[in-house]
């Protein structure tokens, strides 16, 4: 609650310079899309189909979400949540700033509530309790609230996080389990958070880990391939598999299928190998174009590569090259 007061009462410390609007997903007709509910384990469900994957923790105390998907799917997301639980939505945790994970913040948070009382309600108004709390690492708020060249803010205020943290971790206890939010610096972006549900034994990774493409490294928002690898290694350290290295801790990626640690290991091995190859070429003083021509991702392209769309193989190789040579 103290953090909430601080965030509301004073401008964000060390506000980032104005940055371009968060990357919008490609133009898409959402009217025919459906949100699918997949039970994971413990208190946890995964919602698929609303942009980035959404994690739902449901229990007697209410509902906690990790991410909110894209804005046009918010009503369908709310309907899916209600199919899981009719308890109040209390918390939203944003794993990072991108619109396919935060686009639903405004609509979905308003459908929730924050339990407040005493002088807090009097000081900041009853409206403070009329929505779910939205928690994120500080730089997420900085980027979402940054002024653009046109004088507008990057995103509407009602989608901003209401509670932020600048420490390596933030913890809450909700629905009978510890919820451990772990900041991973300079990875997919500069505001990434892993969310570990300790009793349900589920990790929500945001776009630190996906199964649908090469890692997206948003250099313009402080991302770096080394941070992505640090994040993947952190997930591997946190997760404990059941027998034969499968099951046990389950992992909800930012995009793609439900996974366990073996899937993260395959992905980490791929990213490490590509990083090593690009580093080797940089050490041989190869230019970016020479590195691309060497095809350091050849053996993984049929699985993760793309030649068109938002995140191509070329963009990935360029992001790795620039991460390692610090030429952004």
């Amino acid at each position: 609650m103290a953090l909430c007061l601080a965030a509301l009462a004073s401008p964000a410390q060390g506000a980032k310079p104005a940055s371009p609007a968060a990357p919008s997903p490609p133009a898409h007709d959402y009217s025919k899309d459906e949100v699918h509910v997949l039970p994971v384990q413990g208190n946890i469900f995964m919602l698929v189909g609303a942009g980035g994957n959404i994690t739902v923790q449901a229990g007697d105390q209410g509902v906690l979400l990790v991410d909110t998907g894209v804005a046009p799917m918010s009503e369908k997301v709310l309907a899916a949540i209600r199919s899981i639980s009719t308890r109040p939505l209390r918390y939203i945790i944003n794993t990072h700033v991108h619109a396919d994970h935060t686009g639903g913040n405004a609509t979905i948070a308003k459908a929730g509530m924050t339990i407040a009382g005493g002088n807090v309600v009097g000081d900041i108004g009853a409206s403070a309790s009329n929505q779910a709390a939205v928690i994120a690492y500080q730089s997420v708020l900085d980027r979402m609230s940054a002024p653009t060249s046109g004088g507008e803010r990057a995103t509407a205020q009602d989608s901003w996080p209401t509670e932020t943290f600048t420490t390596p971790e933030r913890h809450i206890f909700f629905n009978g389990e510890g919820v451990q939010m772990i900041h991973v610096p300079a990875a997919h972006t500069d505001g990434d958070t892993l969310v570990f549900f300790r009793r349900s034994d589920v990790i929500s990774t945001g776009d630190l880990f996906v199964t649908t493409s090469y890692p997206i490294v948003d250099l313009s928002r402080g991302g770096n391939i080394q941070g992505v690898l640090a994040g993947l290694n952190k997930i591997i350290d946190l997760a404990i598999p059941a027998e034969l290295q499968e099951g046990g801790t389950l992992i909800i990626p930012g995009h793609g299928r439900l996974c366990d640690v073996a899937d993260v290991v395959f992905y980490q091995e791929m990213v490490t190998i590509v990083r090593d190859r690009v580093q080797d070429l940089i050490n041989k003083h190869q230019t970016l174009e020479q590195v691309k021509a060497a095809r350091p991702t050849l053996d993984y392209d049929p699985r993760y590569g793309a030649t068109s769309g938002f995140w191509t193989t070329d963009k990935f190789v360029e992001a790795v090259y620039k991460s390692l040579s610090e030429k952004h």
């Binding site: 997949l38 290694n233 591997i236 980490q268 050849l298 699985r303």
Partner: protein, 299 residues
């Protein structure tokens, strides 16, 4: 007076026809349940100690599959997170592994709901659903065994497996992706079981890949458990992944040199699956055979 023999014969025929009509498909299915011991023939070296590094003969690997195989370093299997990895259900039939197959039967209908397999290698198990249930959606978990459904094709049980985790085709890093599907045909002939595995991998194969293995029924088979715990075998910095950088794997030419096979033959992918490849083989240059060291002089 009616013929007793004629009436009895007619009644017997009617009874037999009724019995056959009550279970029209049962006699066409040959139950593979039981304990099965693998037979190893010309494939023993490849299936037991494992193939040789760089031996891609007979595999329909595409460029990506070859590149992935070239980069493989056996030290990868030392990593704690890889030590207890299981065979995929498509590869497990080839392992030096005993197999047990059993059924779940619905008590009311006496219909088989599922077959199960247990393989001694890794203690790997697979459930093969026979009740017509659909495969899970694409966003469901993948496992080493995958999700399998079965259907009878005459005497053969045909198993279709999706949702496989990434795994290997062979013990020297030949890859099989998590986008693959497998079709396994179990064909029982008395006390012999032939298993044909066909793998369809759009990531690493240029065409479907088929291999067969044989088993013999063994009523006295005993299986040992397979407990596995990961340990730190090598003092290695965290996050390091052993691999060969492109063009640096010095082991790749050992296999063709040792057996007098043109090295290009190990790069020709699906062409090497077909007998007519021998015509091309005769045109390709070979490496010199490795020189055997001279025997030590007697003392």
């Amino acid at each position: 007076m009616r013929s007793v023999t004629g009436v009895s014969l007619a009644a017997a025929c009617i009874t037999l026809l009724a019995a056959l009509a009550a279970s029209p498909a049962a006699h066409a299915q040959i139950d593979p349940a039981g304990n099965w011991t693998p037979r190893f023939d010309e494939d023993a070296n490849e299936r037991i100690p494992g193939g040789e590094i760089g031996d891609y003969l007979g595999y329909p690997l595409n460029d990506a599959g070859r590149a992935r195989s070239d980069a493989w370093d056996a030290a990868l299997m030392e990593l704690p997170e890889n030590q207890c990895r299981s065979h995929g259900s498509d590869y497990g039939w080839r392992a030096p592994s005993l197999v047990r197959i059993w059924t779940d039967i619905d008590r009311e209908t006496q219909q088989v709901i599922a077959y199960h397999t247990h393989m001694s290698a890794y203690g790997a198990e697979q459930t093969i659903w026979m009740d017509g249930r659909p495969h899970p959606p694409e966003y469901a978990r993948h496992t080493w065994a995958g999700f399998a459904t079965g259907a009878w094709d005459g005497d053969s049980l045909v198993i279709t497996t999706t949702h496989l985790k990434e795994n290997w085709l062979g013990l020297t890093g030949l890859p099989r992706s998590d986008q693959a599907t497998a079709r396994v045909h179990l064909m029982r002939h008395g006390n012999y079981l032939t298993v044909a595995v066909i793998i369809y991998d759009p990531v690493y194969f240029s065409e479907p890949f088929i291999r067969t293995v044989d088993f013999i029924y063994n009523a006295q088979q005993q299986m040992a458990p397979w407990p596995c715990e990961s340990v730190d075998e090598v003092d290695r910095p965290p996050g390091v992944v052993p691999h060969h950088l492109p063009g640096t794997n010095a082991f790749l030419n050992e296999f063709p040199a040792k057996y007098g096979i043109p090295p290009q033959a190990t790069r020709d992918g699906a062409l090497t699956m077909y007998p007519e490849y021998v015509l091309r083989l005769k045109t390709l240059p070979k490496l010199p055979r490795p020189v055997k060291p001279a025997p030590a002089a007697p003392r």
